[in-house]
């Protein structure tokens, strides 16, 4: 109990103090009106969620995110397994991966609009593109870090190629895959909000842009806070899932011992 207090008191205390200071400075007019009081943002958040206007946008954003993220994960795992297990495929594509991966995905938005227009298709393509790379790189890392002794063991027992892939390589690569899922889930959400903001007709990003244009400052902040909270929850959720699925991985075991 006291350990939990010691752990959480400093960070929570800091946040409370910070909010209190901003609250006072904002209410007394020291801060410009573009920075509303935290209480006003909180009230706006509850109101907009309550009357459904922000809830609907959140649902739209999460829907787009989920579809695109699932596509990215599926594509990247297949690509990662192919590249990780077939040297020829790796040699053929690794340079391309190294060239494309560092290109900021957001810089591709104009190109995506050119090819796919302003609709949902363009948004999905952008999110898939952005989420694909960290997913691929982590999957590839997982597959390529499979211990040669582990593979020799499987071969020694006459394990078939398919069995080795499904029952040895895939589980051994799971820690890398899980990290990829966690990292690209957060990234996919960020890009979802971005494309909604730049070229959307719905979603949290679109809501933020609209609120800004109509000078509804507190609701704009409320939507930003909501997207932040969503990202945090997604990351925390996948981190938990990761700990449960790859509980046997040395890195998870180490952090469990340390924690």
């Amino acid at each position: 109990m006291s350990a939990a207090v010691a752990r959480w008191a400093p960070p929570l205390g800091f946040v409370v103090v910070l909010f209190a200071v901003v609250e006072v400075l904002s209410r007394t007019g020291v801060l410009p009106p573009d920075i509303p009081a935290p209480s006003a943002v909180a009230i706006a958040l509850v109101r907009e969620l309550g009357d459904g206007s922000l809830t609907l946008q959140l649902a739209t954003t999460l829907g787009t995110w989920a579809v695109a993220f699932a596509i990215a994960v599926a594509l990247a795992i297949v690509a990662g397994l192919l590249m990780g297990t077939i040297p020829l495929v790796y040699d053929a594509f690794s340079t391309l991966v190294d060239l494309l991966r560092p290109v900021p995905s957001v810089s591709m938005i104009p190109l995506a609009i050119l090819f796919f227009g302003l609709g949902a298709e363009m948004r999905i393509v952008m999110i898939v593109y952005a989420a694909f790379w960290p997913m691929l790189v982590n999957t590839l890392y997982g597959v390529r870090s499979v211990d040669p002794v582990t593979l020799d063991t499987a071969r020694n027992f006459g394990t078939s190629g398919i069995d080795t892939l499904a029952r040895v390589v895939l589980p051994a690569a799971l820690p890398g895959i899980a990290t990829g899922i966690r990292v690209s889930a957060s990234l996919a959400l960020a890009v979802t909000v971005t494309v909604e903001l730049v070229a959307g007709d719905s979603g949290i990003g679109h809501y933020i842009a609209q609120a800004e244009q109509s000078s509804r400052i507190a609701p704009m902040y409320a939507a930003i806070v909501l997207s932040g909270l969503t990202g945090w929850l997604i990351n925390a959720g996948f981190a938990r899932l990761e700990d449960r699925v790859v509980f046997w991985s040395p890195s998870v075991r180490r952090s469990a011992e340390a924690g």
Binding site: R155, N156, T159, R167, V246, W248
Partner: protein
């Protein structure tokens, strides 16, 4: 009478003929090795560190292709790992699957065998029991000590019911007491399941203690310096066997052979 003739009479399981292994186009790891193992026999190959012992075992069990020469198991040419031959790796931590429990690890290689589910389950239980890990069947390998992990690896090999078990320095990474335990466990399993054993080790005492015959390996590129029969009485017992005058004479002879780095004429 030649060794070959004696071996044939004693029912030869494994025959290695003029085996040579070169890494790619480069280093010659094994110059030329011929040896044989008879059914039910415990044979050791002892050599200095870096003598290509692991390479030799991996080539014998079909994980590596020989540069020249051949390996015959029951008179059949080995070109890929045959189901009658299983290798126990030195590095148990890397050989066991950390995402599987002890039971699932031991059951892993049985998937391919044409046996009923009940038969497979009883093979697994029997093997785990034989290495004394029944109480830990539901644990994960990384929850166990090094010696226990190597027991799991040995149980997995035994459950597969190979004709011959190849052991690659299997006790090199555990403490001395555990090591003696595992040595005696290996002898017990050999008696209980009738498995032929081929061990490579750099530990001369261990080779003599466990074996019926010992092949002494030169430094690389390896050849066999000497074949030595070990006429010590069975069953072996750590203290009694190791203080036997014959044991000491044998280990000293092997020490001398390994220590003197014999002059060798290059291969023709």
């Amino acid at each position: 009478m030649t060794n070959g003739a004696v071996a044939a009479r004693r029912d030869r399981v494994l025959e290695v003929v003029d085996l040579q292994k070169r890494y790619g186009a480069g280093t010659l790891a094994i110059e030329r090795i011929s040896l044989d193992v008879c059914r039910g026999e415990f044979v050791s190959i002892v050599g200095p560190s870096g003598a290509g012992k692991t390479t030799l075992l991996k080539t014998i069990c079909g994980l590596l292709a020989p540069t020249s020469g051949r390996v015959l198991l029951d008179d059949k040419l080995v070109t890929a790992p045959p189901p009658e031959m299983v290798l126990v790796f030195q590095d148990y931590a890397r050989s066991l699957f950390p995402w599987l429990t002890v039971t699932a690890n031991v059951a892993f290689p049985l998937r391919k065998k044409r046996l009923g589910a009940g038969e497979k389950a009883s093979l697994v239980l029997e093997a785990i029991d034989a290495v004394g890990l029944t109480a830990f069947a539901g644990h994960y390998p990384w929850q166990l000590s090094g010696g226990m992990q190597q027991r799991v690896a040995i149980a997995r090999a035994v459950a597969f019911r190979p004709e011959i078990l190849l052991l690659d320095e299997p006790f090199a990474s555990v403490d001395a007491l555990t090591r003696a335990d595992l040595e005696d466990l290996t002898l017990r399993l050999r008696a209980e399941f009738g498995i032929t054993m081929l061990l490579v080790t750099h530990d001369i005492d261990e080779a003599v203690y466990l074996s019926d015959r010992v092949f002494v390996l030169s430094p690389p590129p390896s050849v066999i310096v000497r074949e030595i029969a070990v006429p010590l009485s069975q069953p072996r017992e750590q203290e009694r066997t190791r203080s036997d005058a014959a044991f000491l004479a044998l280990r000293n002879e092997i020490h001398r052979l390994i220590g003197q780095h014999p002059e060798r004429t290059p291969a023709p």
